[in-house]
């Protein structure tokens, strides 16, 4: 079953090795750039390595597609893989692919967006390390490897949120983010220790073999609760969401796009993987269903009250996490496929929305929706891509948001939870209220005291490319659906094979 190939026999999985190499060498390149005066060297280095990451994910995907259902196991400490091992399957590569795609686009976008700032060496190093952390979470084969990369992603993102430290907003938001998110990490460590106490191992395959299907005891329920707190803080499920509307708007534009587009989804992915491997869905269904409804409703109502563009988009991210939780709570392959598809689509849509908002703040220095009345007439291309992403987030047909929401809601009906579908549809209608308000304000006649020009060509080009991808995946969704379907089947139906690949070595 498990073959060692040139791609996987290396010490680390290839995408991870690429990102860590890029992030590790960037300080040296930064020094070189300062010495020689080739100031753009850092940006080009970061762009090159994130492009290489995308290519290496593609190679890994090709290799996995050649023999469906294969799991590549690479362990740092020999076999049996107790700790420090990676188990690469279709699901992990799917998630790492989402990270690589949005990461590449955000790094290219930063080329112009960040050019006025100082300390760019630190910025690009942290971005590459944050991407490496997310890729590591996606490919991890045991809980402890997941935790190490989880902290790597966390620490880089705390610093990136507080990156513009000459203003008061980022510092406040960064400190709040750090305290809440690190509390979540502490609960994650506690849940790891509970798993270790119950099964004696942290390897996903072994713990799934020993814990899944056991009669729910108080200890198992405590484990579920600590897991939900631990992952829920990072993925902003509603009772634990209060850091997100502060942290995401205060970060620089491309970082907001990365944080909202993929970091919180990485939390959701880890929650999906660990809970599915440890529990049968009947244990956690009702909890996740309740959390999904609360998350969607609270976030949408809060978003209606916002006047700050980026803050509105941040609340909208929380409500999208609620939609993804619908798929988790069904526990079927179809529902999980909806969640995974929505992760990809949301990373494109919310990434684009934050990048377009970044264009607007970059050119005007303002974020208030009322004051920015008429800005869309001065920045037509930005406005076009922003409108496409907002319509996509609302779930209008012909955008990719429609496809994944349709799958999510129909899976809720199929799994016998029609109340979730009703709540989802009502919430989508509610969310259109604030998306349309943004669009109406930006397109209406300018009253204002400000002048704005269209953003630099590279930034606009990234925006238009993402808008094109949104429309393309909305009109021709089969490739994405096929890929997401293979990933969710790997989790649900391939569970036995996943365990076999590791235990049977």
């Amino acid at each position: 079953m498990v073959m060692i190939s040139p791609l996987s026999a290396s010490f680390l999985p290839l995408p991870l090795a690429v990102l860590l190499l890029g992030g590790g060498t960037l300080p040296l390149i930064g020094l070189l750039a300062e010495k020689t005066g080739l100031r753009r060297l850092r940006e080009l280095w970061a762009i090159a390595f994130s492009a290489l990451n995308l290519i290496s994910i593609y190679l890994l995907y090709q290799e996995l597609r050649a023999s469906p259902g294969r799991v590549i196991v690479s362990s740092l400490l020999g076999s049996p893989p107790l700790a420090g091992c990676f188990e690469i399957d279709t699901l992990g590569v799917y998630m790492a692919g989402c990270v690589a795609l949005l990461g590449f686009l955000a790094v290219v976008y930063s080329y112009h967006y960040m050019e006025e700032e100082s300390r760019l060496t630190e910025f690009y190093t942290l971005v590459l390390l944050m991407m490496a952390g997310m890729t590591g979470v996606a490919l991890a084969g045991d809980f402890f490897t997941l935790f190490v990369f989880w902290e790597m992603m966390g620490i880089s993102s705390y610093v990136l949120v507080a990156f513009l430290k000459y203003r008061w907003g980022p510092i406040e938001a960064g400190f709040k983010y750090l305290i809440m998110s690190a509390t979540g990490s502490a609960f994650l460590l506690l849940s790891m220790s509970l798993i270790y106490g119950m099964s004696g191992t942290l390897n996903f395959a072994y713990l799934s073999a020993s814990l899944r299907g056991v009669e729910p005891s108080p200890w198992l329920l405590l484990l579920l609760a600590t897991l939900i707190v631990g992952f829920g803080v990072k993925s902003a499920i509603v009772p634990f969401h209060t850091w997100l509307p502060d942290a995401h708007p205060e970060a620089p534009g491309p970082i907001s796009a990365l944080l909202s587009g993929i970091v919180i989804e990485t939390g959701l992915y880890a929650l999906m993987r660990v809970t599915y491997l440890t529990f049968t869905p009947s244990v956690y269904r009702s909890v996740f269903a309740a959390l999904a409804v609360i998350t969607m409703t609270v976030a949408n109502i809060m978003a209606l009250l916002q006047n700050d563009l980026k803050r509105l988009l941040a609340y909208s991210s929380i409500s999208q996490i609620g939609y993804m939780l619908i798929g988790l709570s069904t526990g079927t392959a179809y529902g999980l496929m909806g969640s995974l598809l929505h992760i990809l689509n949301h990373s494109l849509m919310k990434g684009l929305a934050f990048l377009a908002a970044g264009n607007i703040t970059h050119q005007t220095g303002m974020r208030d929706i009322e004051k920015l009345r008429g800005v869309g007439r001065m920045m037509p291309y930005t406005m076009l891509s922003l409108s496409i992403s907002l319509l996509g987030l609302g779930g209008v047909p012909a955008t990719n948001g429609f496809i994944s929401k349709f799958i999510l809601f129909s899976s809720a009906i199929g799994a016998g939870m029609p109340i979730l579908a009703v709540a989802g549809v009502l919430n989508s209608a509610l969310s259109m209220a604030y998306y349309l308000r943004v669009m109406k304000n930006f397109i209406s006649t300018p009253e204002g005291e400000f002048e704005a020009e269209e953003a630099p060509a590279l930034m606009v080009a990234v925006n238009l490319l993402m808008a094109l991808l949104i429309l393309l995946l909305g009109l021709w969704p089969q490739p994405a659906i096929r890929y997401a379907d293979a990933a969710s089947r790997m989790l649900v139906e391939g569970l036995g094979r996943y365990i076999q690949a590791v235990v049977g070595r």
């Binding site: 935790f147 705390y158 507080a162 510092i171 502490a186 460590l189 506690l190 270790y196």
Partner: protein
Amino acid sequence: MNALIPYLVSVFLLLLIGLGCLMMKRDMIRMLIGLEILFNAANLNFVALSLSRAGFVDPLGQSIVMMAIVLDGCVIAVGLAMVLNAYKHYGTLDVRKLRRLRW
């Protein structure tokens, strides 16, 4: 199993103390100390459970605690750097003064 009970009780108490510290303290450095107490509750749980495996001390749990301590240290270091910046801006360590972000 009975030998574990004192450890589990102290883990629970440490958790309560850490959470209480995070909720009630106004000083940013004390909040970071509360965070450290929370992490150490989890670490203590690891060590206690690694002692209870049939007849021997499991090295896996102990080595994980070593790594986890390093990671906590990194988080606290970043937190202290942020406290330093906040102090430069506000001239105080009182977290109640950091209330300009709302809703």
